[in-house]
């Protein structure tokens, strides 16, 4: 995902990876569709209404949830609001620079958001308080360490954070901080599974090396039953068969990933 600035290194790395891939191997010895070590820690931030830290390989992402009383969107005056933001912290990678969100982090946050939103797992109707007031759920993602495949780690952290979320008590359309009226009910579990394409090889859970040697990326988020979101990243293309095959793998892999929730 990160921009590759060094053209020669890019070419060298790519040719080395291709040599391995031709033999059915990856740099770290995994199969093409194997995930790296996955870890999930829920409720890591006591000040947040919900939180989780997800690790996939060396990638670490923390998700935190806060509630605010907000004005509903004009298009949905009787619904609450759900907002996702992401910060690619400069401490996470030599590729990330300080500054306002750039297109990379905006796209990243929107893909994670879309999987959750399109699966309709948050009951935004229940967030309505009174005319012009509703609860807003703010899901914020901080990338702490970037070792490739941010989206899947973020999706896992986000869903785990939502599943650990306590809904604050509301009195006279104001949040009573530190008191809760219940927990957020999550019944479907959309999770993203991401792939990188290097020439015609498609690899699940790409590392940073694989991502930077790739021409294109693909994220497919699935619930137990449906595809909830798809995003193609980068400049290269995917064949239809690649996409459909990736969907099958995504359904299979999300089953494994859900066990960590």
């Amino acid at each position: 995902m990160g921009e590759e600035k060094d053209i020669i290194m890019h070419a060298m790395r790519k040719s080395y990876l291709l040599t391995l891939l031709a033999n059915g191997e990856r740099l770290d010895g995994r199969g093409f569709y194997d995930y790296r070590h996955v870890e999930l820690h829920k409720g890591v931030i006591e000040t947040a209404e919900g939180s989780a830290l997800a690790k996939i390989g060396s990638t670490q992402i923390i998700a935190g949830i806060k509630f605010e009383v907000v004005e509903p969107f004009a298009s949905d005056p009787d619904k609450g609001v759900f907002v996702t933001n992401a910060e690619l912290l400069p401490l996470a990678s030599s590729r990330f620079e300080p500054g306002p969100p750039r297109e990379e982090s905006i796209e990243f946050a929107r893909v994670v958001d879309r999987a959750i939103r399109s699966a309709e797992i948050i009951d935004l109707n229940s967030f309505f308080l009174e005319e012009g007031k509703a609860l807003g759920l703010f899901l914020d993602l901080y990338v702490l360490d970037y070792g490739g495949n941010m989206v899947d780690a973020a999706g896992l952290a986000a869903l785990a954070a939502l599943k650990s979320t306590k809904i604050p008590k509301v009195e006279n359309a104001q949040i009573v901080r530190g008191e809760y009226s219940g927990v957020l009910k999550i019944e479907k579990h959309p999770l993203p599974v991401s792939f990188a394409k290097i020439e015609h090889y498609v690899l699940a859970d790409p590392t940073i090396e694989e991502e930077s040697a790739s021409d294109a990326g693909l994220t497919i988020a699935t619930t137990e039953e449906h595809i909830a979101a798809i995003q193609k990243f980068g400049t290269g293309g995917f064949k239809k068969d690649d996409v459909l095959n990736s969907v099958d793998i995504a359904f299979e892999k999300t089953k494994e990933l859900r066990k960590y929730l």
Binding site: I45, A48, L89, S94, P100, D145
Partner: protein, 247 residues
């Protein structure tokens, strides 16, 4: 500034049961991130901070480079969910810009920048959970991350906040003491020479009180120095920590 309705000190004990000069539990761990050249996490009471260091590397933009020394860049940031209260804003604000600057200048004092002309050293700290004293927690994490990155330091920097609440001088202010106490003095100093490299204060103190709490900070610094040493030892072993000039 003092809120008379909240009794911060009762019978010599503080809200969380600490004595006046007790530190909260502090955990320092180095090498917590893979990509950064050096990294550290600090849990200090309810504060949770992660710091990462990059460099020395090419100075960007070029016009900022200095032909005689490395420049140091520093960014302190709070997560939007780090406080029990409302959802915070993403990105830097006026407070975090100021804190970034004072942390940077404290670190510049000990980093041997003259060894790396035309380059930059970047220090980043993110506060994931806040409980009073985040700038000191961030500074502590930043120092440990610099050591982990192998960047030559003249001396270690030790930070602690001291202050006054309920008419008593106290060490390591918690969030309530920070908000409702009489004075808050974050301070950081070099270990050997006790050069004060960061000093801020708000609230009211007499000169005598200030003198006493600086001494208190120096005394508490010894404990923090031991924790820094331990953190390095845990990753690199005793030989390395002995060669480090941290005490």
């Amino acid at each position: 500034m003092e809120n008379k309705e909240i009794e911060l000190i009762v019978n010599g004990k503080r809200l969380d049961g600490r004595g006046l000069h007790d530190l909260r539990p502090i955990k320092i761990k180095v090498g917590v991130l893979e990509d950064a050249d050096g990294s550290a996490s600090v849990e200090w009471g309810g504060n949770k901070v992660v710091a990462g260091v990059y460099g020395p590397r090419e100075c960007i933009p070029r016009h900022m480079e200095n032909p005689y020394k490395a420049i140091v860049k520093c960014q302190y940031m709070m997560s939007t969910f780090c406080s029990l209260e409302e959802h915070g804003r993403m990105g830097p604000n006026r407070r975090s810009v100021e804190i970034s600057k004072v942390i940077r200048q404290a670190l510049e004092n000990v980093i041997m920048v003259e060894l790396f002309p035309k380059s930059q050293i970047e220090v980043y700290a993110i506060v994931l959970q806040a409980d009073g004293g985040t700038r000191i927690s961030a500074l502590t994490a930043a120092v440990a991350a610099l050591m982990d990155a192998g960047i030559p330091l003249r001396d270690t920097v030790i930070g602690v906040s001291v202050g006054k609440a309920g008419d008593k001088l106290i060490a390591d202010l918690g969030k309530m003491e920070d908000n409702f106490g009489q004075s808050d003095v974050p301070i950081a100093f070099t270990n050997r020479d006790k050069d004060i490299v960061l000093l801020q204060m708000d609230g009211l103190l007499t000169k005598d009180e200030l003198s006493k709490i600086i001494d208190l900070a120096f005394r508490k610094g010894e404990d923090i120095n031991q924790l820094q040493r331990k953190a390095i030892e845990n990753k690199y072993g005793e030989t390395v920590s002995k060669r480090l000039r941290i005490g």
